[in-house]
């Protein structure tokens, strides 16, 4: 076994090592998260890891990274068995990972996070030299992130870029990516993956990517390994497989996305109207201003844009999480200030991004979270008393109806996987029949194929029932698929508006880039 002290540091590896996983097994209590799995990441190849939510992909990569210690199985680097006890060890072997959850420290600036991410190094940081080096690094890197900005002020897309940048900065030779493009626009995703692909082709990097997007897998990966319920379900070269083959391996049977069926509704009335709306970011600088927006009943209005252009603040204002700096919001012809009473009266529902943070009380149970909108009204309350039985019953119903995978209604919602948290929130928000307005922001971020399909279907169904939907997303494909009307936001202004059927892809791209 190779000892750490005799290892070259990551910087000195001249090519990515060959990584083999043999019979990896990981048990959590009675749950078999990973069952005797083997795979092979050849030096200088782009390998995609496919599987449904909960198939064990994250567990596998966390075992490789030393986050978890496998119950059984071994890891071979260039044929030598190695023991990786923690992520620091992994880094010394030249393995780096971009996590699905962001791992930057929110209160620190981009520069501080980059410097901090370097393991070891001098105890005292010479900021002048570091900033210079970082500027030089940024100028040659595939994407730019402002160095002096605190992470808390970056939008999801920029954070994701930073996570990838961090690994490039650390000279990792094997890069593990956990759904790296879920917050990027298709053009950005292609750019990022294209640049990473070039590095792989040049023999500089090996990549192991968890992905749900077949398009990206087809375009960029060399090989795939598919997991199903913790077990090996197939592998092969991408050039010899079709999307249908891969989908079949993933689900055990072939599944096609539910086609979008829109019904047109007569007498569309304006439900949401924003007039000259403006709001500031946390730092007091205007996030967006002078926005006029109307969403009619039975219509999905999609807002596209690169993250950080004011979408987050717009959703926060509409959801009542942020005060507007200017302008007004009207719902159903009445002034709307997002109080609880108004939300109930107008039946406004919201599906914000990062639902665990923005729409749930993380340590409260699934049942309690599902009752957040209705717990203070009959039939769930009588006077000032809560009827816990009624709350539980409704939760049981919703869990079944929306297929939320949870051990019990009493489980804290934070213990659920991302997809199931999103389902639980969706269940709560769509549970009442008469909802009039739905505000959704990146509803499918980081979800797998089945969950995305489910959420899309629910949104379309709501629209067909006459709900006005405002859909803010960084996934342009999603917007083109779902929305009736498309608006592009850039630098806090609407730069493009069109019916989706007549929207021009090139014009949208230009508008998103702010030209």
């Amino acid at each position: 076994m190779t000892t750490l002290s005799s290892l070259p540091s990551a910087r000195q590896l001249d090519r990515p090592p060959d990584l083999q996983v043999n019979g990896m097994t990981k048990q959590f209590g009675r749950l078999m998260a990973l069952d005797n799995l083997s795979m092979h990441l050849k030096s200088g190849s782009f390998h995609a890891l496919l599987g449904e939510n909960g198939a064990g992909k994250s567990t596998l990569v966390k075992c490789i990274m030393g986050f978890y210690q496998p119950t059984a199985g071994e890891l071979l680097l260039d044929g030598n068995p190695v023991q990786i006890g923690n992520p620091r060890d992994a880094h010394r072997y030249g393995i780096g990972m971009v996590y699905q959850h962001f791992t930057s420290v929110p209160a620190m600036t981009v520069a501080e996070n980059l410097v901090l991410s370097r393991f070891g190094g001098a105890g005292i940081i010479n900021w002048k030299a570091e900033i210079e080096a970082l500027r030089a690094f940024m100028s040659t890197s595939p994407f730019q992130v402002p160095l002096e900005t605190p992470i808390a002020q970056l939008a999801a897309g920029q954070k994701q870029k930073l996570e990838i940048l961090k690994q490039i900065y650390l000279h990792s030779r094997i890069l593990i990516l956990d759904e790296p493009t879920s917050v990027l626009t298709p053009a950005e995703a292609d750019e990022v993956l294209g640049l990473l692909r070039q590095q792989v082709s040049a023999g500089e990097l090996s990549i192991l990517m968890i992905s749900h997007k077949f398009r990206e897998v087809m375009a960029f990966a060399d090989e795939i390994t598919v997991l199903r319920k913790g077990k090996f379900a197939g592998s092969g070269a991408v050039s010899e497989l079709t999307v249908a083959d891969m989908a079949e391996m993933m689900m055990g049977e072939q599944k096609v996305p539910t086609p979008v069926q829109k019904t047109s509704l007569p007498n569309a009335t304006p439900v949401l109207e924003a007039r000259q709306l403006g709001a500031n970011k946390d730092n007091g600088i205007a996030a967006f201003s002078g926005i006029d927006l109307t969403v009619h009943s039975g219509e999905i209005v999609g807002i596209a844009g690169i993250s950080g252009n004011g979408q987050r603040e717009l959703v926060e204002v509409l959801a009542g999480q942020r005060e507007a700096a200017a302008g007004e919001v009207w719902v159903n012809g009445e002034r709307y200030t997002a109080t609880r009473a108004e939300m109930y009266r107008h039946q406004v529902c919201a599906l914000p991004e990062e639902p665990l943070r923005n729409a749930c009380v993380a340590h409260m149970s699934v049942a309690e979270n599902m009752a957040l909108r209705t717990f203070d009204r009959p039939p769930q309350a009588k006077g000032i008393l809560l009827l816990l039985q009624a709350i539980r019953q409704m939760a049981v119903g919703l869990i079944g109806q929306f297929s939320v995978k949870t051990p019990s209604p009493e489980t804290p919602v934070q213990n659920l996987s991302g997809g199931n948290v999103q389902r639980a929130v969706l269940a709560r928000e769509l549970s009442t029949e008469q909802i009039k307005l739905l505000i959704a922001a990146n509803p499918c971020f980081g979800l797998d194929f089945a969950a995305v399909d489910f959420i899309h279907t629910q949104i379309i169904n709501a629209r067909n029932r006459g709900v006005a939907v405002l859909l803010v997303s960084e996934d342009l494909d999603e917007l083109l698929k779902l929305s009736d009307r498309l608006i592009v936001i850039s630098d806090g202004q609407f730069t493009y508006q069109s019916q989706t059927t007549t929207a021009e892809y090139a014009a949208i791209g230009h508008a998103m880039a702010g030209h």
């Binding site: 791992t103 929110p106 209160a107 393991f119 105890g123 005292i124």
Partner: protein, 307 residues
């Protein structure tokens, strides 16, 4: 001290009070600042302050060296800090609850071992004379500064630099703001918090030494009068910034001296009101600086969380 100077005594007394009364605030608040930056609260610093004061006084009396007393006070703080650091990081243990227990434990220890030292007088720390030789004795007495005050003055910018420009400082901030991110970088949360709490308690112990060996320079059971707890609040007021901790400590020290100094020039009315000046000041500044539109900048993200 201000007799014979008339009204000039008031600002002079405030300056002197700033340096004297501000010193324990400074040490405790810097210690708490370091602790809270790592994501844990240590309310027990009130107890640490008392234990430090007692230890410093006792050791100074027994060995004749006030400097050994200061070192012993720091070490006593270190021990209390290690207890808090270990206890507060156990599963399902809340740091605020442990902190309250540590206040009682720390003061209990101090009172228990401190009984024999209430009567005897221990050698005090030497002071540096700031004033020239040809000033009145009153001015001279007011401008005696303690090396501990200067040490505190130096530690504040040093700590700011530590947080900004050393790897260890970044670790402390990362652990305090996002333990998950720190864990992803292979940083041991337990160790970082343990060391931060211990170092913070060391500073608080020295703060105690400044009470018993500098000003007021005696050992009694009521010597801290809640200054340890006020210093904890002061850290929030200072937005977890060591340099603002420094200014805030000076402000509190100065405000504390307002009542006594006015009394010394014969203003007897409203004595208690002037004594309340630090608290009124705190409230006023809180009201003026707060804003519903901004989040509390600088608050460590994981502060007070169970992780």
């Amino acid at each position: 001290m201000a007799e014979g100077l008339g009204w000039w005594g008031v600002p002079l007394a405030i300056v002197a009070g700033t340096m004297r009364g501000g010193t324990p605030f400074l040490f405790v608040s810097l210690g708490e600042c370091l602790t809270e930056k790592s994501g844990k609260i240590n309310l027990g610093l009130e107890g640490t302050l008392l234990t430090g004061a007692m230890t410093a006084y006792g050791v100074s009396y027994l060995t004749g060296s006030p400097w050994l007393g200061i070192l012993a006070a720091g070490l006593a703080g270190l021990v209390l800090g290690s207890i808090h650091g270990w206890l507060s990081q156990q599963f399902r243990v809340n740091d605020v609850a442990v902190g309250i227990a540590m206040i009682i434990f720390g003061s209990g220890i101090a009172f228990f071992f401190g009984k024999p030292f209430i009567q005897p007088s221990a050698p005090q720390l030497p002071t540096l004379n700031l004033a020239g030789s040809n000033v009145s004795p009153a001015v001279e007495a007011a401008l005696q500064i303690s090396p501990l005050f200067l040490l505190g003055l130096a530690i504040a910018p040093l700590m700011k630099w530590f947080f900004q420009s050393t790897r260890w400082g970044l670790y402390v901030r990362a652990v305090g703001d996002s333990p998950d991110a720190a864990r992803a970088m292979g940083v041991s949360i337990f160790k970082v918090r343990m060391l931060s709490i211990m170092a913070g308690s060391f500073l608080a112990g020295i703060g105690g030494a400044s009470l018993s060996l500098y000003y007021p320079g005696v050992w009694t059971e009521r010597i801290s009068s809640g200054q340890g707890l006020m210093a904890v609040a002061l850290v929030i007021f200072a937005r977890w910034n060591p340099m603002i901790c420094l200014w805030a400590s000076l402000l509190f020290g100065g405000a504390q001296a307002l009542g006594p100094s006015l009394q010394s020039v014969g203003i007897k009315q409203g004595y208690y009101l002037f004594n309340a000046a630090p608290y009124v000041l705190t409230l006023l500044i809180m009201i003026v600086t707060c804003s519903p539109k901004r989040t509390l900048a600088g608050v460590p993200g994981a502060l007070g969380m169970d992780n």
